[in-house]
Symmetry: C2
Subunit: 311 residues, 2 copies
C-alpha cells in the first residue's frame, strides 16, 4: 500500500463513494464538503453500498469546508459536476504538489486539457465511472450497483502514480481499467451520452420510450455518426460496430432515466459545456461540423436557461 495523501473535491454520490472506498482500504483521505459540512462533523459519512454498507465515524472523517485548510495531496479526485468547474481555479491551488496526480471523475470532454494548461500540471487524468449511485441526504450516499472506473492520463505523459492509484483502488474493492488515452475513452462515453442524455432531456423520455420510435433511433444513430466523425479529429477511431452495439444494448435495457433528464427534473443546471460545447468546438476547429448535435445543444441551452431563471 502506498503512503499517499488523497483529497476528494466534491463529496457527493461519486466522490463520497470512491473516497470512502479508499478510506476503507486504509488510506489517508481528506474530503471537501459544501452544504453537508456541518452535518458530517456531527454524524460522519455513511455509504449504503451494494457491496456492503460502510460508514466513517465523525472522529475518523477528515472533513473540510475549505481546501486551504486541507493538506497538500498526492492524488486529488475531482468529483464536482462540471457545471462547478469554474470553482477549481480557487479550490485546487492549495492542494497541489509539483507532481500531484489530478483525476477528474466527471462527464464530458476537454476538462483535463483545461486544468493541465491552467495550472501547468504534469499529471492530469480522467476517470469514467460506470456506477449507479445517489446522494440521498446530507453525508448519506446510496450506492446501488456497479462502480468500475476506466481511467487514463491526458496527453503523452506517463507516471507510475496512475498505476499505483489503480492498485490502491483495486485493493480497496474498486474495479479499474486503464485506458492509456483518456480522450479515446471520453469520446466513447460521449458516443452514447451526447444523443441519449440530450434527446431524453429535450423530450422528457426514458430510453425505452426513445427506442420505441424509429425516427428517434435514426436521429440518435445520426448524432452518433457526428460524434464518430468528431472523435477522428483527435485520432480516436470509433467503429460502426460500436454504434450498432450501443443501439442494440440500449433497446434491450430496462427503461433508464439519463442523468441529464434527472438534472432537468430536479431543476439542476445541465452539464452542457463539457458534454456538448467542447465536443462541437473541438470538431469545428478541425473543420468537422456536427449540425444535429449543435441543434440539440441549442435546444438544451434553452432548457438550461429556463432552469437557471426558475432556480
Amino acid at each position: 500500500m502506498t503512503e499517499k495523501v488523497f483529497a476528494v473535491i466534491g463529496t457527493g454520490a461519486i466522490g463520497g463513494y470512491y473516497g470512502a472506498r479508499l478510506h476503507h482500504g486504509g488510506h489517508d483521505v481528506h474530503f471537501l464538503f459544501n452544504s453537508d459540512y456541518q452535518h458530517v462533523t456531527e454524524h460522519g459519512l455513511t455509504v449504503d453500498s451494494h457491496y456492503g454498507d460502510y460508514s466513517i465515524d465523525k472522529k475518523q472523517l477528515n472533513a473540510y469546508a475549505d481546501t486551504s485548510e486541507m493538506p497538500k495531496a498526492d492524488v486529488i479526485l475531482i468529483a464536482l459536476k462540471t457545471t462547478q468547474n469554474h470553482l477549481l481555479d480557487t479550490l485546487l491551488k492549495p492542494l497541489l504538489k509539483p507532481d500531484s496526480l489530478v483525476m477528474l471523475l466527471q462527464n464530458g470532454i476537454g476538462a483535463e486539457q483545461e486544468i493541465a494548461q491552467h495550472f501547468d500540471l504534469p499529471y492530469v487524468g480522467g476517470g469514467l465511472c460506470f456506477i449507479c449511485s445517489n446522494k440521498t441526504g446530507p453525508g448519506h450516499i446510496h450506492h446501488i450497483d456497479y462502480g468500475r472506473i476506466t481511467m487514463g492520463l491526458y496527453g503523452e505523459k506517463q507516471t507510475t502514480a496512475l498505476d499505483e492509484f489503480a492498485e490502491d483502488l483495486l485493493q480497496a474493492g474498486v474495479d479499474v481499467e486503464i485506458d492509456r488515452n483518456i480522450i479515446d475513452a471520453r469520446w466513447k462515453k460521449l458516443l452514447w451520452n451526447i444523443p441519449f442524455n440530450g434527446l431524453s432531456t429535450v423530450l422528457n423520455a426514458d430510453t425505452k420510450q426513445m427506442m420505441n420510435c424509429n425516427e428517434l433511433v435514426e436521429l440518435s444513430r445520426s448524432i452518433m455518426g457526428e460524434v464518430q466523425q468528431a472523435a477522428q479529429t483527435t485520432d480516436t477511431l470509433i467503429e460502426d460496430a460500436l454504434i450498432d452495439a450501443m443501439l442494440t444494448n440500449t433497446a434491450k435495457m430496462k427503461p433508464y432515466l439519463t442523468s441529464m433528464l434527472l438534472d432537468r427534473r430536479h431543476q439542476r443546471e445541465l452539464e452542457l459545456q463539457y458534454m456538448y460545447k467542447n465536443a462541437i468546438d473541438m470538431a469545428d476547429k478541425q473543420g468537422v461540423s456536427m449540425p444535429k448535435t449543435q441543434a440539440l445543444y441549442q435546444q438544451l441551452c434553452f432548457i438550461n436557461q429556463q432552469i437557471k431563471n426558475e432556480g
Copy 2:
C-alpha cells in the same frame, strides 16, 4: 356575381369562416360536416366574427355528412387539417367536374401536386390563410381577427376561375392576394412555420420565451437557412433580408403559441407530413440536405407517436 356551386370540405375554423362569408355574399355554398352534422341540422351554423356576427339558419344551411350526396361543385375548398388528407381519396371524387377549381386552404407544401396528379385535375391551387379563428363548439366558429388569403394555382396552368373566385371572396368581404406561384408563397410561410412551430412544440414554449434565448434564435436562423436552400430547388428565391425581418418581427410580437404547440397541448395529431417531411424530401431529391430541420422533424415524430398512443 358568378352562378357557381361552392363546396366546403371540412367545416371548421377555416372552412366554416370562409364558407359562411361566401354564403353571406349570396353564393350557393354546400358544407361537409363530420361530428357536427347532427347539431347543425338542428341549430345551423354560427360565426361570431370580428367583422360582424353571422349565422346560417338550419333551413338555409346546405349541410351534408357525406360528399356523395353533395352536388358537383365549381369551386371546392378543402379546409381539413392535412393529417386528414388521406380521406380526400374518397371525399373529393363525387364533387369533381372536369374543370372544378380545387383550393387547399391548408398548411405545408406538396398537397396541390399530390391532388392534381392523383385525380388528374387541371386546376388545383392553394390558399394561405392569415387568420385568427377557432371552432369553439359544434357548428360554432369564433373569428378573432384578420382573414386575408394569399392564393395561387399549382403548376403553370392559368384559369379565369381563380380570378373569379378571388372576386367572389373580395365581394364577400375577404381580403385576397393572388400569388401566381403558390409554391413561392408556401415556402415563405414554411420559412417561419418550420422553425417556430416545431421548436415551440418540442420545447413547449411561446415565441417570446424562444426569442429570449440567443442559442435558440441562432438555431431558428439556421433552420430558416435550410428552408431557404430547399426553396431554391423549386426556383423560389428567399432573400436573407426576409429571414432577418421575420426574426425581428417575431422578437417584437406578443407571446404567441403556435398552432402545432396548441395541437400538442390538445393531444391532436401533428401536421408533420406536409409541414416537414414533404419539404425535406423535395430538397433531398435535388441533393439539398436539411440536417437541423430533419432532427427537429424526427423529434416531432416522437411527440406525435406519444400523442397517437395516448389518444
